[in-house]
Symmetry: C2
Subunit: 121 residues, 2 copies
Amino acid sequence: MKSEAKTEGRYAYSLERAMHEPSRLSILTSLAAHPEGLVFADLKTLTKLTDGNLSRQIQILQADGLIAVEKSFVKNRPQTRCSLTGEGRKRFLDYIAALEQVVRDAGRVATHPHGRVATTG
Amino acid sequence: MKSEAKTEGRYAYSLERAMHEPSRLSILTSLAAHPEGLVFADLKTLTKLTDGNLSRQIQILQADGLIAVEKSFVKNRPQTRCSLTGEGRKRFLDYIAALEQVVRDAGRVATHPHGRVATTG
C-alpha cells in the first residue's frame, strides 16, 4: 500500500543537540520564561537538577553561547544569575519550531486508534 | 523581582531517552504516520539516516519494545518491515505529550521580544 509519496527527509528534524539534551532543555525553557534571568537556587528548584548537574550544564550552555552567567555578591554571598543571550534566544526559538513540527507530525498517530493495521507486503 | 512562585520541578520534563534521541525520534514519527508499517528503504528515505545508523537505531527500538520488525522475502529479496508496537504507540504518545508541554512553556518567550531585561539582583 503506497498511500502517499515517501518524500526524502520528510521526518528528518534539525534538533541542535546542545539544546535537545533533557537537562539543558529544562534550563533553557526556565530561562525563556524568565527574561530577567534566574539565580542558581531558583533554576535548581524549577529544573529539579542536582547542584553538580546544573553547574555542569550551565557551563556547557555558556560555552556554547546560549546563556550568559553573571556572578555577583548579594549581602556578602556569591550569587550566580543566568539568562538567555540574544543568540540563545534566537537558536532556542528555531529549536522549538522544530519540536513543534515533531508534535504536529506525531499528531497524525492519534487519528489511527488501533495503531497497526494489516500489512500488505 | 519575584513575579511568580518558583514551583519545584515546574520545568522538569519526563522525556524518555530511548525516544528523545533525534534519529530514533525521526524513525518513531515516521512509523506513527504509517500505521501499516514501513519497509527499510522507505524509512531510510523519510529519515535520511544512513543504512548503518538506521539498522542500529532499529535494533535499539526493537530491543526496547517500541517497534516490531518483520523479516520476509518479496520476489526472493529479503524485506524488513517495521511498525510501532502497541506499547510503543502508548509510550510515544506520552513522550509527545511531554514535548507539547515544552513547546507550550517555551511559547512564553515569544511574548518577550527583547529577551533580556534589566536584572534587579
